[in-house]
């Protein structure tokens, strides 16, 4: 599968958020989208998912324009995993996961045995079949995120868009969720997630995409494109990047205070 964005522009009222963003992504990859708050990450996702109408430019999903898909068809191509949230009503996990089958059921239909098995299979893939009878709203944030990922698998879409899946998760759960996402990308899914932690990109992503002021600044292998200079300009604090000799992985750390970075000086 392929997701191609060309010259995407979007404005809220008169305030432009996306300015000619362009990129192409293919399946079998985990992509981390980095960018400051307000850089246009969420807007980009919301345009791709069809939540926001009236954008300029083209979004091609498997070479078909996004506007030409119906809600149902689009749901079979792209699944969306929102930030973990507390649903107002407590649904059992298995029911929550079965909701992913809505796009393949008739308007008045409701899931039966087949859908139940699909949901169980998805829970198994993620390795959380033990949660199936728990109430979703009573789970921890990390568990909720995994349930939503299982639901996306039930939806049978091959492109997964995740809006800061690791926000508000503890360190262990962040790693658990990231590992699951990576293993899905290795099964052929195209996993696109936004994150505020460059480490996620260094450790898990095949590609990192950095958005600045509504544009795609860079897109490429994280260890190559996420340079000290770029991260410093992005976050406007001093950052040092080290290489772990043992594993060859890159790590980033906060640099010295008061150090000049980009055009800014951080004074605390």
């Amino acid at each position: 599968m392929e997701l191609m964005i060309k010259d995407l522009e979007f404005s809220y009222q008169k305030h432009p958020v996306l300015k000619r963003a362009s990129f192409t992504l293919k399946g079998g990859q985990l992509i981390c989208v980095l960018g400051k708050n307000g850089a246009g990450k969420s807007t980009l996702f919301r345009c791709i998912l069809g939540f926001l109408k009236g954008f300029q430019g083209t979004i091609l999903i498997d070479e078909i324009r996004q506007n030409d898909y119906s809600e149902r068809e689009l749901a079979k191509k792209i699944a969306y995993i929102p930030q973990n949230h507390n649903s107002v009503f407590g649904y059992p996990v298995i029911d929550m996961v079965m909701m992913g089958t809505a796009a393949s059921l008739s308007l008045f239909g409701s899931p039966g045995k087949r859908e139940r098995e699909k949901a169980l299979a998805a829970l198994k893939i993620i390795g959380i079949e033990g949660l199936k009878d728990r109430i979703y709203s009573q789970l921890s944030g990390g568990e909720q995120q995994l349930v939503l990922i299982a639901r996306a698998i039930t939806q049978e879409a091959r492109i997964l868009l995740l809006d800061e899946p690791c926000a508000s998760l503890d360190y262990g759960n962040q790693i658990r969720v990231m590992r699951e996402l990576k293993s899905l990308s290795e099964k052929g899914y195209l996993v696109v997630m936004s994150t505020h932690n460059p480490e996620h990109a260094f450790y898990f992503a095949h590609q990192a995409m950095v958005m600045m002021e509504g544009r795609v600044k860079v897109l490429g292998e994280p260890s190559k494109v996420l340079t000290k200079e770029l991260l410093e300009t992005l976050y406007q604090v001093s950052i040092d990047i080290y290489k772990d000799e043992g594993s060859g992985r890159k790590i980033c750390m906060p640099g010295e205070e008061n150090q000049i970075c980009g055009n800014y000086t951080t004074v605390l």
Binding site: L49, A75, V88, M99, A102, S110
Partner: protein, 338 residues
């Protein structure tokens, strides 16, 4: 757990049984005594040739007085709870009642206007029904022009239209003749089933049933919509159309109910909570449970209304007396789950 589903299904079954008991007992209660055996015989005599051993008044009481009232109480209670449950889902808010979009206030204004202009009995009902629908219609049109957050737009314009309708009712009360029209309007707005006759059943029942159908058919999808618009859309749900279908159904139910009974509050807010506690949040079970519990609830309250004192208490007052403390209890006990 399979266990939990079984338990919920059993409870749904018990709720159904409870409703049937409430329904039949309601025929027996009242100033004129009707004995269970007589009731069964009278009801069966409509279908089978049974020797008449009872005075003819019994038949009049059962068919002309109690039957319309019992049917209407059951239908209105069921309908309002059903609509309330559906609204709580589509607005992702358990504090919502079926009149949030102005159906009741609109209908109240319609009725007040009808009474002020001394329309006949049927005219008042029709006027109430039409104004109830129009109020929600206006709310839908206004909110469709709200950019981005449509749900918030709906709720806020609902509050505004309700306030306008209430202001209009106050104005009518102010200018109404204080010796006869004003008390009639005031009494009507309190909500009562005392004056329900057969023709009210024929007027309101089809609309209530007609409103229930689309919501019931879409019941599983309401679960998904209750997670939020964007999430539901990403799963392939046409959220706008689904919400419109539910709003339309719930508005028919609420307007039709209010147009024959006056304002009966709290049922649509409290009963869905009770149902949720008993059978869980899944709308596939919650909606039938709300129907049955709501019907039973209003039957019981209506029986109390006609038995407790010699002159009837308007049922709207009683539902508030029962509903508000119960809701307080819910907040104290399950505040975190509301």
């Amino acid at each position: 757990m399979e266990d939990r589903e079984k338990r919920y299904n059993n409870r749904l079954f018990i709720i159904g049984g409870f409703f049937v008991v409430c329904f039949f007992c309601s025929f027996l209660l009242g100033r004129y005594p009707v004995y269970p055996a007589t009731l069964v015989k009278v009801l069966l005599s409509r279908f089978f040739p049974i020797e008449v051993t009872w005075p003819s008044q019994v038949e009049t009481v059962i068919f002309n007085v109690r039957l319309p009232r019992v049917l209407m109480a059951a239908l209105i209670g069921a309908g309002l709870s059903f609509a309330g449950a559906a609204y709580q889902g589509i607005f992702k808010n358990p504090m919502v009642s079926p009149d949030v979009l102005g159906a009741s206030s609109g209908a109240g204004f319609g009725a007040a206007l009808g009474l002020f202009l001394s329309f006949g009995y049927g005219g008042v009902s029709l006027c109430a029904f039409i104004f109830g629908l129009s109020a929600v219609g206006i709310v839908c049109i206004v909110s469709s022009r709200v950019p981005y957050n449509q749900v918030l737009g709906l709720v806020l314009s609902g509050i505004m239209v309700s306030s306008l309708a209430n202001a209009a009712v106050s104005f009518i009360k102010l200018v109404a003749d204080p010796t006869n029209t004003l008390p009639v309007i005031t009494y009507w707005l309190m909500g009562s089933l005392a004056s329900i006759r057969q023709k009210d059943v024929f007027f309101a029942a089809p609309w209530i049933l007609f409103g229930i159908i689309p919501i019931y058919l879409l019941r599983w999808r309401i679960n998904i919509l209750s997670l939020g618009d964007e999430e539901a859309r990403s799963m392939g749900i046409h959220t706008g159309r689904l919400r419109l279908a539910v709003v339309l159904g719930a508005t028919l139910i609420t307007s039709a109910s209010v147009s024959v009974s006056g304002l009966i509050g709290w049922v649509g807010l409290v009963v869905p909570h009770l149902a949720r506690m008993l059978v869980g949040s899944d709308y596939r079970r919650l909606l039938p449970a709300s129907l049955l519990l709501g019907g039973s609830f209003l039957l019981i309250v209506d029986n109390v209304a006609r038995l407790i004192t010699t002159s009837e208490i308007p049922i709207g007052i009683l539902t508030a007396f029962v509903g508000a403390p119960f809701f307080l209890y819910l907040i104290l006990k399950e505040g975190n789950r509301l």
